[in-house]
Amino acid sequence: MLNLLVEISKYILIINILLYTLYGFLIFGYKNKKKQNRGFLKQRAFIITIHFIGYFILFLQQKDFMLIFLYLGEVILFIVTIISYQFVYRNLSRLILNHMLMLLMISFVMLARLSVSLAFKQFCFAASALIISLVIPFFIEHFHQLENLGWLYCFLGIGLLVFVAVFGDEKYGAKNWISVGNFFSIQPSEFVKILYAFGAAALLSRAERFKDIIKISIFAAVPVLVLVLSKDLGSALIYFVMYICMLYIATGKFAYFGLSLGMGCIASCVAYRLFSHVRVRVLAWRDPFAYIDNQGYQIAQSLFAIGTGGWFGMGLSGGLPGSIPVRESDFIFSVIAEELGGFFAVCLIFIYISAFIMFINISLKMKKSFYKLTAFGLSVQFFAQIFLNIGGVIKFIPSTGVTLPLLSYGGSSVVSTIILFNIIQGMYVLDQIGVDAVEEKSKPKGRK
């Protein structure tokens, strides 16, 4: 009977997420407000359904009453978020809110499937981040100095990264963790990423001369180098891509983009020759099965999981995620694909694409260069993280060890991603209430 329920649930879950994803794109085309509203409500209904079925199946399997509390806690968190955000973020993008909740919800369900205690921790992280985020719109609206603090972001970020590189702990081969107390550790590079976007946006939006650009680029390269040296290749790549994209937008010169991309390629070739940990990643990517006992182990196990699951998956709790290393964080995509199926996993990619396009829409609408650049930089960061993570676990590109936004377990990762979502959300609100008018007034004063 239980097996039967798991089998049926598999297909219901896939249908739900397919429809949810479909609305994620249809809504872009809806001009009619009412139609849009209905679309968003339907999306929430799909979220509620998937959430309920997920926990229902898990409860039948594990018979753990903690799951019921966790489920109820999450339902309350979602309801409170939806209501409070509508007040704090007036006219927020409901698409982004829905996507954020959908991804968080899937993460909760999958983590509860792996370990209830992990799911509980993730719930606490997410809840605190959602609460902290309530002040973001206030900040953006009232602190007009944000765009004047370029060098502060820059030095603060570099300082933090250097601090970690010197005093940090090594985990999964990268030295990017700071222990606070005994069992709590944070990954500052996740937060510095946001600071980096702000810093680059603030400085680039002011840069007028070629000399400025050179100066900024040199400072922008420092964090990347620090990250490469602390073996955090994924973050280094994210910072780099974010910067060159922002540079292109700020200057409008494709030559800069091409040039820095070329330099990046040369730098990665040099890194390949210099660092064995880079070579290992490439080796493991080209033929994970030849090195299955060590370097290729993670990717091979990930490919086994995805391949065995097939398009429809093994059913929630039906897979063997225990064999996948770092299953709760870097390789959560493989766990999802194995149990919920290939169709479900592809839908997740499309949900990310929908969120990304919405982010870009917001940055296109922003009139002020600083906000535009920040929103765009954060969107690129979001994109890069998805591409590196999923590309790595499906062996499309070498694995770089980055987390999957909102799905991966990890306090630093989930908190920083929720903040990222809400900063963009805050800017969207700002744009709609016409802060530009306010900005216009303050401009003459601000300018010399």
């Binding site: 937008i249 700020a250 099965f289 995805i306 097939g310 990619i349 694409i353 296109l364 009139k367 998805i386």
Partner: protein, 488 residues
Amino acid sequence: MKKNLSQKGENKASVPQKKNSGNREIVVLTYLMTILLLSLAVYFGYYLTVRSSLVINSTYNKRSELLENKILRGSIYSSDGEVLARTVSDEMGTSKREYPFGSLFVHVLGRYTHGKTGLELSENFNMLRSNINPVVKIANELQGKKNPGDNIFTTLDTRLQKAAAEALGSYRGAVVAMEPDTGKILAMVSKPDYDPDGLDAETWDLLTADEQGEARLLNRATQGVYPPGSTFKILTALEYMREHKNYKKYQYDCTGNDVFGEVKIKCYGDSSHGLVDLKTSFLKSCNTSFANIGMTLDKGKFRELCDSFLFNTELLLPFSCSQSSFVLDKASKEEELPQTAIGQGKTGITPMHNAMITAAIANGGILMKPYFVDRRENAYGETISKTVPSEYATLMTKKEALQLTDYMKAVVESGTASSLKGTDYQAAGKTGSAEFDSSGKTHAWFVGFAPADNPEIAVSVILEEAGSGGTYAVPAAKKVLDEYFKNN
């Protein structure tokens, strides 16, 4: 500098429209990034539909038990349509693996319980995949019924396998029969064996304890490493032909024994062969003459030849294989040469490897990749995939292969394999009587193929501690060849 100036100018010019600046670039980059994200989805789909079936069929993938809850493991068939292994479930829903031929195929099929081996291991996931109509599949799943897994059709022939097992009689040993021009393995027997049907804990304990030292669990065909004895003279002769263009003029006077350096070599049964050339040395399997030939060989080149003949490397076969070894090299002492040249000394070879070398000679120098699985069919009998024969390596030139074939024909016509003389199929081959310790007992070897001029089958036979190759291994090989040509 110029660049600098012009840029300044542009900046100034764009000041009035600064409001929209950057959007065009954003759109360009967004297209690029969206395409990259879409390519993730496309690659993911490609992996699932095309690549994954090959990838997950790995012994490192621990998910087969999970799949067996959903799929009724497929059956294994012989090339003549017999069921070699099948899974049956009783009313209680518990399933059991059955082997209708009992122990006959155990080493090649492997076992299902106590750690899978053989084809049960290498084809594990292929039998746990159900390529039936997806709608039927989902309907079955929802009814809680297991879907039928795909079936494996092997290249093994039950009649030939039986003949090979009978040919070994009560001896320990192995027989491998393969098709030289495709690489199909037609039969593979290793004795002693065990019955994989209903392998209980007690029997298993006896098998692993192995108090008689029989090594029943060992597939001697692929894992048994034996001294090649005189079958190795094929390679010695080939190396001599390569190093001496006028090898046909070679001459040696055999008196039954001789001393090379400080190594004393004698011919089998102390027979003296008189004045011999290379061909006669080969067909009489004259040890002293071959030791004499060995002394003229370049050790480094001899090593190169053996390495190119897949000694000291892992054979690319679907299941575990021991490496054949040939240790002679440039740095070796001269005194190792005479023994090595006659296939004694430190050289070791598996019966499978010896069959492959023989098949390459039969196939004009080209070794085809040996395979056991002809095709995979779904439960409806539709072919899912079929193995296409592929080349493994070119071991020698066609001319060399023909020359060796000529010598091997002579072995049957007027040499040590005369029990094969006068058959309709005209075999060619080489015998071997390999000493394995100082007791004077020998393993009986025969490698050969037939018909000599248009080979259809190559065999490699070893009977442990039986005696001379000519007396024991050749008649055994004859039984296998007789059976093959009776049916084909």
